[in-house]
Amino acid sequence: MSSIISVANLSKTYGSGFKALKNVNLDIKRGEIFALLGPNGAGKTTLISIICGIANPSEGKVLVGGENIQTSYRKARSLIGLVPQELHTDAFESVWATVSFSRGLFGKPKNPDHIEKVLKDLSLWDKKDNTLRQLSGGMKRRVLIAKALSHEPEILFLDEPTAGVDVTLRKDMWRVVEQLRESGVTIILTTHYIEEAEEIADRVGVINGGKLLLVEEKAALMAKLGRKQLILELAEPLDKLPEHFAGNGLSLEQGGTRLVYNFDAHNEQESIAALLTRLSADNIHFKDLSTRQSSLEDIFVALVGGAK
């Protein structure tokens, strides 16, 4: 298997004695979009900081592109672009200067064409001569992305890239992420907006209290933990369910005007078609029908809650 990042038995104890990561094992596949989900203080930023070389690990080993991040840090780090969670910027620098600086720092020779392309992709071209303090928060976020992309990384870390970002920028950002993925860049992002992970990630990891609780293909996770519901708005209210329907995941709600059918995605007790046929055979008619699938958010809350 070609994993581009491999984290083994990683633990981190901060100077204060706080254990922020507990024996984390994680493999990131080349070219995938991986979403790391977890509540505040779960250890997401700590994990990213260690992989990127900003914090030292206490125990364990991390390989990036097959290179050890400690003994072979030059090769490992040159593969990575990092967009940090906080908006750290040099207030008095121009956009162009700060993005060019990043490229040089990563040892790449000057390439104004590439910088121009990155700035244009992120709709920053007309701001290239502005100083950073003249930019809004969302624009600063784009500048940080531009800095991370300035040296053409193979791996991009986005630590909560959409915190405080409006819908347009978010769309722009996902468009850029999609382009990057098509060009073969591996993307690891953390987010609190679970719909995002659901929308864009290939795999999802859930972390809480410094422990990686699970890593799954998004689709498999949804299938495994996702619940489905069929909701029928009845034409005429029922006093009670006919007996031969009872106990099959069916229940009446809203004073008998709504019939709800709960089923597991991987364990359908009865096909929807069969149920509907039986209902019409019993002269139970409905005026509306909808289905609902539990979101990652529901799954996440269940998982994190269950782990406590």
Binding site: R77, P84, H88, F92, S102, F106
Partner: protein, 253 residues
């Protein structure tokens, strides 16, 4: 060696200097001129010569040292403290650069700036008094070694400092008294024996004395001892920084 990275940091820092050109160049010129007016004219009218050198010329090497030390320490410390303070340090830490390369970039820029300002002061002084340099090679050596050593020292302070107060503590509170008491404006031979002995514990004495010797051939302590002292101090700074980098002291938690 990541030469691109060293260049990037160096020119980034020099660009910051350019933006604050007025403050970084004009202010040392003004303060040096003031020293010449106050010390050169007022004191110099009473002390005509010190060991055969006119008083104004006598204080010139000390004045250059005074500014060089202050500038190198504050530039060296600010250069690394500022990104720590704003958080932009994340980028330097996550870049494929060795700590020695980071050091070369920041310290190189701080030393360059210190040297430029030292030269400006030398030229300013030359407008007031006649300055001659008897040992130009040694003068350049002392000049360079001092600039590098104290930029390194500043860098260490920048890593250590947790707030602006600590950052300014040493350049504001420690360096000026040491330079004033280190024989910048007098020969320690003018002091009573007790204070002469005490002065020998002041590291700045050795710098000023050696530097002045390279100008006029007069010294409070043997120039070779001066040279050894500054080399020793350089070695201590390098050793301490080596330890800081190895442990990630206050940079990588």
């Amino acid at each position: 060696m990541n030469i691109e990275a060293i260049k990037s940091i160096y020119f980034f820092e020099m660009a910051r200097t350019r933006r604050t050109l007025l403050q970084s160049v004009v202010s040392p010129v003004i303060s040096t001129s003031l020293y010449f007016i106050v010390f050169g004219a007022a004191v110099g009218s009473r002390i005509q010569t010190v060991e055969g050198v006119s008083y104004g010329a006598f204080i010139t090497p000390g004045l250059i040292m005074l500014t060089l030390l202050g500038q190198c320490i504050s530039n060296g410390s600010f250069g690394i403290y500022f990104p720590k303070f704003t958080g932009t340090i994340y980028e330097v830490l996550s870049a494929p650069v060795a700590m020695t390369e980071i050091l070369l970039g920041y310290v190189g820029a701080a030393a360059t700036k210190g040297l430029l300002i030292g030269l400006i002061i030398l030229l300013t002084a030359n407008a007031f008094v006649e300055v001659r340099i008897e040992h130009p090679f040694m003068m350049i050596l002392f000049f360079l070694l001092t600039a590098i050593t104290f930029s390194l020292f500043g860098f260490m302070i920048g890593i250590w400092a947790g707030n602006f107060e600590q950052l300014n503590l040493i350049p504001m509170l420690v360096v000026p008294p040491l330079t004033f008491l280190g024989g910048s404006f007098y020969s320690i031979n003018m002091l009573p024996p007790f204070w002469q002995a005490v002065s020998h514990f002041n590291p700045v004495l050795y710098l000023v004395s050696g530097f002045r010797w390279s100008f006029y051939g007069i010294a409070d302590v043997n120039p070779l001892i001066s040279l050894s002292m500054i080399t020793l101090f350089l070695a201590i700074c390098l050793g301490t920084l080596g330890w800081m980098f190895k442990t990630g002291y206050r940079l990588r938690n």
